[in-house]
Subunit: 162 residues, 2 copies
DNA sequence: ATCAGCTGTTACGGTTTCCGTATCTTACGA
DNA sequence: TCGTAAGATACGGAAACCGTAACAGCTGAT
């Protein structure tokens, strides 16, 4: 019987739990940070989430964005209105496009300095934190974070489909 | 002049940037996951954030929670109403307390299974991901995440004060 | 002891946001 | 060509957010 597991297996499990706990805490803390940043910019949390997606995953349509975030298309219209009013994005309607109904949303860079300024403290802390690790360790961390992000993506997709 | 920096320093900087990028992506993805979980439970994103804080940082007062999250006290009343209606928390008014005005909010465990169930996919993926690292690497990752969370906490505090 | 001032919580009301429905435009298939 | 489907947004009711105020209770000074 294996009621007594090897000590190193138990230690592993504990460390894994510790990692998940730390990730939960980090996630929660970053959500709070984002909220404060949003307040400074007169944007809602979800607005920042959408802006991030637009900036990173290229120009895309309001509908596609709404499906990705899990919001009603009409809600997305309101979000994009706020972002456009603030000069964060533009809606582009290309008369030469294959589908002339579709609108593509593009992130602007005019206010990026302002945005980065609000994250400056966190950014500096991260630089300082990374400076304490050697190259090999940094690679391990970077890879872990990337794969955790992918896992999050998959979990989100499952939840929105099932 | 040092316009030419050593190759390993440049590589370091790139890896650090890659880490910050991956963290941003992870954060955004987890925000989306939380949103979908919230939809299933008829809770707003901020409700889940608050519930997490209450569960992890013990029983505390509505006012303290509002300050922590950066919300108006009246808004917190609405959030706690929703959480209480859903059976996630209870408001306790201890007649024997030092300050009889104060209310403490406590997290219940009745619906925890339901909550964990929604995170089951992500949880399993994280276990799987962690299984690919050795003990030393896991320790490095756990420590990094913990310290990143602390950095987030500091950055948030600075932003809410300054 | 009493009173003034402060803190904690919540009710109330105006403003904003969210989302279901309807509408308009355009694409696609029969 | 016509009917159906899909994309984006206007409209309206419901909900949420937050400023103000009201009430209870603590604290310190006179």
């Amino acid at each position: 019987m294996d009621s007594v597991e090897p000590g190193d297996a138990r230690r592993r499990r504990r460390t894994t739990t510790r990692i998940k706990e730390a990730m939960r805490e980090l996630n929660n803390q970053l959500a709070l940070l984002n909220h404060h940043v949003g307040v400074r910019l007169s944007l809602r949390d979800v607005d920042l989430d959408c802006l991030d997606l637009i900036a990173r995953h290229g120009p895309l349509s309001p509908g596609a964005l709404a499906r990705r975030v899990g919001l009603h298309p009409a809600t997305m219209t309101g979000i994009l209105d706020r972002l456009q009013r603030g000069g964060w994005i533009v809606r582009e309607r290309d008369p030469e496009a294959t589908d002339r109904r579709s609108v593509t949303v593009r992130a602007l860079r005019e206010r990026n300095a302002e945005l980065y300024g609000l994250y400056a403290g966190m950014n500096a802390s991260m630089d300082e934190l990374c400076a304490g690790y050697d190259e090999t360790q940094l690679d391990v961390i970077a890879d872990f974070l990337r794969r955790a992000g992918e896992a999050g993506r998959r979990a989100t997709d499952e939840l929105s489909e099932g």
